[in-house]
Amino acid sequence: MSLQQMFFMYFAIAMTGLSLLIVTRKNPVHSVLMMLLLFVHIAGLYLFLNAEFMAAIQIIVYAGAIMVLFLFVIMLLNLRSEETVAKYQKQWPVSVGIGVVLAASLVIILSKITVIPQLGEYSIEAIQAEGSLMTVGKVLYTQYLLPFEIASIILLVAIIGAVVLAKKRIQ
């Protein structure tokens, strides 16, 4: 096994293990911590793919902002009394069924994939020559400008919605 494969194996196994730990922890704060570790591993995988910018944004946005908000809400709710609720609810056979179907479809899809040998315009050398920040920016603001703007408008709608909800409560 080459060094690269070893790195990838580590990340793959650690991420699977961490995902399992997230859903099996009784204490929600422990789950959040495991999720933080998972995000750090995802960032590591991005670095491994020469996507430095994505790695940094992964940490800043997910670990830095979203998980802190999760933690904030969990702490405010003070879920300690909820820890005694049974782990398995009535619907568990349905959940297992859906899980098996999804896993099976994933295996089928992965077995059908054929690797295309020729590389696209953005090879590792091309990205390294320009820097991943510059490359992402250029592609985002030229080739994918419309989807980018649509995403911005959706976020703007969410912000306005939040303002409206917050205003209502005061009156």
Partner: protein, 325 residues
Amino acid sequence: MAFADMIWVFIKVSIVVSVLLLHVSYVVYFERKVIGHMQARLGPMRVGWHGLLQPIADAIKLFFKEDIMPSQADKPIFYIAPLIGVLAAIGSVAVIPMWDGFSIANLNIGLLYILALSSVGSYAIILAGWASNSKYSFLGGLRSAAQVISYEIAMGLSLVGIMLMSGSANLTDIVNAQSNYWFIFTQPVACFVFIVAAIAETNRVPFDMPEAETELVAGYATEYSGIRFGLFFMAEYAGMFIMSALVAICFLGGWDGPDIWPLTLVPGFVWFIVKVYGFIFFYFWIRATLPRYRYDQLMSLGWKLFIPLALANIVFTALMKLIWN
């Protein structure tokens, strides 16, 4: 990577980390002396000449004190929290260029890397507050969570102006882009927002709500003792060093000194250190001058003043760049 390169990196890491740790202990001494003289006191005087050995004595005391753990605390998180803080703070130093060509890792995303690690560092305080299972610690942790989220946005947005001006997020490139004029003259608004956000981000007076001792005993650190308390202290002072280094690099031209004959002989490293410690002095000066803000004032200041200011600065800078190019 060749073997010799690895040795060189190892030497660089050990130099930077040991200098940073010494800096942390002596900057505490510096702070006590400066604030002492500002309040017409002498500061530490007993241990060694003018109290010079005081930090060593403090460190030894912290190492040998009992590590107390509250009975209902969440054990693993209580232990890990201070380590997260210290690791995030020390990790940030890796990308800071001390002089031309000397940084452990010359990353293209250096600025983003520091922002990412500073947001990881805030977990230390939040988790410490939660895991201690004490009301004061918990309130400190929650305050810190809200404060850090709010001011991180303003800080990131103010740095966008710098990235626009230099066309790069690489800290060495940012310094090189200031060879004609420092960014403090072209980006005064960004500089102002960044300095205020940096004080809030490192939980220093007047924004030290998470550890306000008149309200919350010692905030998130109330239940910590011995070396774990020391680690929080270390993380805070290392964080101050990083923020000061960022001000020096992004706004004051980094290792760039004045271009007058006798002064050009001074190595760039000295200029960098002078700027960093000048800004650390500014931190102490503010601490000795300003009273603590109220919590709601802090929040409205962050969201209603600094974020709009930083956004306006981005729009203005981008427009100017568009017109001049």
